[in-house]
C-alpha cells in the first residue's frame, strides 16, 4: 500500500530536502476531535505523516481497576461517545462472560434494538461530517435531521441523548416505554424514505465521486494485516462482522446482509456505512416481530465477584470490533480491563495511507476511517 511512494518520499527526505512541516490539529475542524497529524508536505503533497494521539487520555482502564465491576459501566459512555450503548454492551458482556451471568431473552432483543438504533445515529453522524469534510455542508443538516429522531427515541427509553448508560450486567435497568416499538418502526419508514435524498445529494454527485473514488485504497491483505475492523475492513472486501462472525445477543437469529464492498477506497468506506443504514432498519423491523414477554434482567448479587480468569467480549460497534478484555483475580474489582477500541486499530493505517496524497485527501481519508478520539485515547 503506497509502498513505492513512501520509499520515494523517504529517499527524498534522506537527501536532506526539507518538506514543509504542518501541524494538522490537535485543534482542527476535520480531525474529529483532538487528533494531531504532523504532516511533511511537498507543496500540496504529503510526504510523511505522523499521528500523535493521547490528548484525550483519561486513564479509563486504570480507573476500572479501582472500582467494583459494575461501577465502571457509566465510564464506558465516554469512550465512543457517538455510540455509547455499544461500549456499555461490550463492558457488560465481558463482565457477564467472566462471571457467567445469563441475560433474559427479552433483554437481549431490546439490546439488539438499542444497538441498531445507536448504529443508525452514529452512521448518520458519519455521513454528515464526511460530507462537511469534503465541503458539502448541506449533508450535515440532512443527516442530523434524521439523527435527531433517532436520538429522541433513545432519549425516550434511556433518558439521555448521548451518554446513555442503559445496559446493566445481566440485562437492562428498565423495560421499553409504551409504544416505543411503534415509534421505532415509524422512524424506520422515515429513514428509508430519506436515504434516497442522501444518494441524490452526495452518493451520486460526480464531484463527490471524483474526490473519493480511487483515493486511499486499502487492499484486502493490508486491511487484515493492519487489524482494521468494521466498515473500514468490509469496504476492502473482507467479510468480517462480529454480528455474524461471533454472534452475540440475538444476532444469530436475525436475517441481515453483511455489507461487503470490493474497492477499498474512500468511496467504498463511505458507501459501506451508507448501505449499513438499510441493514440496521431491516434488523430493527425483525426485532419487534419476535420480541418475547418476560423479565428484562436476571438476578445479580449486590456484590459482584467473578472467578479468577480471563474473558473478553466482542461487539460490532459502528466503527468496528469493540472488545473488552477483563482479568479477574476473584476480588470485587477487576485486576485489569483492556479496551480494544476499533478506532485505535483503524487509525494505525492512516500514516501509511495518506502518503503521496494531497492535503485535501488527508481530510477525506481520515473522515472515511471514521474515528472517535474518545475511544482512541481512552
Amino acid at each position: 500500500m503506497n509502498g513505492d511512494l513512501r520509499d520515494l518520499h523517504q529517499e527524498i527526505l534522506d537527501l536532506g530536502t526539507q518538506g514543509m512541516v504542518m501541524n494538522m490539529g490537535p485543534q482542527h475542524p476535520s480531525t474529529h476531535g483532538v487528533l494531531r497529524l504532523i504532516l511533511t508536505l511537498d507543496g500540496e503533497e504529503v510526504m510523511a505523516c505522523e499521528p500523535v494521539i493521547g490528548y484525550l487520555h483519561r486513564g479509563l482502564e486504570k480507573m476500572a481497576e479501582r472500582r467494583p465491576y459494575r461501577h465502571f459501566l457509566p465510564f464506558t459512555d465516554r469512550l465512543d461517545y457517538v455510540c455509547s450503548l455499544a461500549n456499555n454492551l461490550a463492558c457488560a458482556q465481558a463482565i457477564e462472560r467472566l462471571a457467567g451471568i445469563e441475560v433474559p431473552d427479552r433483554a437481549q432483543w431490546i439490546r439488539v434494538a438499542l444497538m441498531e438504533l445507536n448504529r443508525i445515529a452514529s452512521h448518520l453522524l458519519f455521513l454528515g461530517t464526511f460530507g462537511t469534510d469534503l465541503g458539502a455542508t448541506t449533508m450535515l443538516l440532512y443527516a442530523f435531521r434524521e439523527r435527531e429522531e433517532a436520538l429522541a427515541l433513545l432519549e425516550a427509553i434511556t433518558g439521555a441523548r448521548l451518554t446513555y448508560n442503559w445496559i446493566r450486567v445481566g440485562g437492562l435497568p428498565d423495560d421499553m416505554p409504551e409504544n416505543w416499538d411503534k415509534g421505532v418502526l415509524a422512524f424506520c419508514d422515515l429513514l428509508e424514505s430519506r436515504v434516497g435524498e442522501y444518494d441524490r445529494l452526495l452518493t451520486d454527485n460526480p464531484i463527490f465521486r471524483r474526490r473519493t473514488e480511487g483515493v486511499g485504497v486499502i487492499p484486502a491483505e493490508d486491511a487484515i494485516a493492519y487489524g482494521l475492523t468494521g466498515p473500514t475492513l468490509r469496504a476492502s472486501g473482507v467479510e468480517y462482522d462480529v454480528r455474524r462472525w461471533a454472534p452475540y445477543e440475538k444476532y444469530a437469529e436475525i436475517d441481515f446482509d453483511v455489507v461487503v464492498l470490493r474497492d477499498g477506497d474512500t468511496f467504498a468506506r463511505y458507501l459501506a456505512r451508507r448501505l449499513e443504514l438499510e441493514q440496521s432498519v431491516r434488523i430493527l423491523r425483525q426485532v419487534f416481530d419476535r420480541m418475547p414477554e418476560g423479565p428484562i434482567a436476571s438476578k445479580v448479587g449486590k456484590v459482584l465477584k467473578a472467578p479468577p480468569g480471563i474473558a473478553f467480549s466482542q461487539v460490532e460497534s459502528p466503527r468496528g470490533e469493540l472488545s473488552f478484555t477483563m482479568v479477574s483475580d476473584g476480588s470485587p474489582n477487576p485486576q485489569r480491563v483492556h479496551i480494544r477500541a476499533p478506532s485505535f486499530a483503524n487509525l494505525t493505517v492512516l500514516a501509511d495511507l495518506v502518503v503521496g496524497n494531497k492535503v485535501a485527501d488527508v481530510v477525506a481519508i481520515l473522515g472515511s476511517i471514521d474515528i472517535v478520539l474518545g475511544e482512541v485515547d481512552r
Partner: protein, 331 residues
C-alpha cells in the same frame, strides 16, 4: 448650489464614488442576509430569525460586531503585508463597480476599454490574497494563498475568453455599448456561441469568487479558512465584504454581458431589472454553493486548463466566425 458643485468633474466623480460605495455596502448586507436565508432553506432550517423582523437586522448586527471587535495582528506576522492585504482585496472590487452601467446613463464612469479595465482591476485582488497568505506567517494561510494564486490565474483565462466573445458581438469594449447592443430582447445569451460563453463565464466566475465547489483557498475543513485564518474584526470584514461584493459584481457583469443589462419589460425602471436579474444569478451561485462538495486542487486546475480554456478558445473562434460570416448581432 449642488448643481454648481456637481459641475466640477472632481466633485462629481467623488459624489458618484460615494453613492456607489453606499449602494455596494447596502447591497452586500442584503446579500449576506439572502445567503443565510437561502442556505437555511436549502438545508431545511430557518436561518436568522431573532434580530429584527425575520432576522432582517442580523447582517447589520454582525457588521457592527465585526467593526467593534479588537484588532488582532499575530506576533509572527509581517505587519506591513498583513495590514495592506485587505485593502488590496477590497479596493479592486469597489473599483470595478465604477464602470458597471445600472441603467441607460447610470454609470459612474464609462470609457471605451471598460471590459479590459474590469479584467485588469479584478486581477489585483489576487495580489491581496497572496499577500494575506504570506504576510500572516501561518502555514495554512500560505497554502491557501498559493492555491488561490494558482486558481485565480487559471480561471481568469476562460473568463477573459468568454468576455472576448461578447466583445466580438458587441464590437465594443464599453460595457454601456455592450448592454445597448442587446436592447429589445436581443440578449446575447440567445446566440449559440455566447450561450456557451455564458456557461464558461459563470463557471470561471464561480472560481474567481472563491465559492464552492471552487472554494479551495478558504476550504474550511482543510485549511481552516485558508488565507484569512488569522484575520479578525474589521480586517476580516473587508475580506468578507469583498467576497460578497465580488459575487454581486460577477452576477451583474454576467447580466450586462449576456442577459441584456437593464433591458426588460417596460413599466419598471431598467436599474431594477438589472438588479433583479443579478439577484437571480446570485441565487444560482448560492444554490450551487450549498449543494456541491469541493473539488481537489489538481482537479480544479485540470478542469480549467483541459476543459474550460479549450472550450473558451473554441467559443472565441466560433463567435468571431459567426460575426464575420453570419453577421453576428449587428447587420
Amino acid at each position: 448650489m449642488i448643481e454648481q458643485a456637481l459641475a466640477n468633474p472632481w466633485i462629481r466623480q467623488l459624489a458618484n464614488a460615494a453613492l456607489l460605495l453606499a449602494v455596494i455596502n447596502l447591497g452586500v448586507l442584503v446579500l449576506i442576509y439572502m445567503e443565510r436565508k437561502v442556505a437555511g432553506f436549502i438545508q431545511s432550517r430557518l436561518g436568522p430569525v431573532h434580530v429584527g423582523p425575520r432576522g432582517w437586522l442580523q447582517s447589520v448586527a454582525d457588521a457592527l460586531k465585526l467593526i467593534l471587535k479588537e484588532d488582532i495582528i499575530p506576533a509572527p506576522a509581517d505587519r506591513f503585508l498583513f495590514v495592506l492585504a485587505p485593502f488590496f482585496v477590497f479596493v479592486p472590487v469597489l473599483a470595478v463597480f465604477l464602470v458597471l452601467p445600472f441603467n441607460a446613463g447610470w454609470v459612474a464612469h464609462d470609457f471605451s476599454l471598460a471590459a479590459l479595465y474590469v479584467i485588469a482591476a479584478g486581477t489585483v485582488a489576487i495580489m491581496g490574497i497572496v499577500m494575506a497568505g504570506w504576510g500572516t506567517n501561518n502555514k495554512y494561510s500560505l497554502l491557501g494563498g498559493l492555491r488561490s494564486a494558482a486558481q485565480l490565474v487559471s480561471y481568469e483565462i476562460p473568463v477573459v475568453l468568454a468576455i472576448l466573445a461578447v466583445v466580438f458581438y458587441a464590437q465594443s469594449m464599453s460595457l454601456v455599448d455592450i448592454a445597448e447592443a442587446q436592447r429589445g430582447f436581443g440578449w446575447f445569451i440567445f446566440h449559440p456561441p455566447l450561450l456557451v460563453a455564458a456557461f464558461v463565464y459563470m463557471i470561471g466566475q464561480l472560481a474567481e469568487t472563491n465559492r464552492t465547489p471552487f472554494d479551495l483557498p478558504e476550504a474550511e475543513s482543510e485549511l481552516v479558512s485558508g488565507f484569512h485564518t488569522e484575520y479578525s474584526g474589521i480586517r476580516f470584514a473587508m475580506f468578507f465584504l469583498a467576497e460578497f461584493a465580488n459575487t454581486f459584481f460577477a452576477a451583474a457583469l454576467a447580466v450586462v454581458l449576456f442577459f441584456g443589462g437593464w433591458d426588460g419589460l417596460p413599466g419598471l425602471t431598467g436599474a431594477l431589472w438589472l438588479v433583479a436579474k443579478s439577484y437571480v444569478l446570485v441565487f444560482v451561485l448560492m444554490w450551487i454553493r450549498w449543494t456541491l462538495p469541493r473539488v481537489r486542487v489538481d482537479q480544479l486546475l485540470g478542469f480549467a486548463w483541459k476543459v474550460l480554456v479549450p472550450i473558451g478558445l473554441i467559443v472565441v473562434l466560433w463567435a468571431a466566425a459567426s460575426v464575420v460570416y453570419a453577421g453576428g448581432a449587428k447587420p
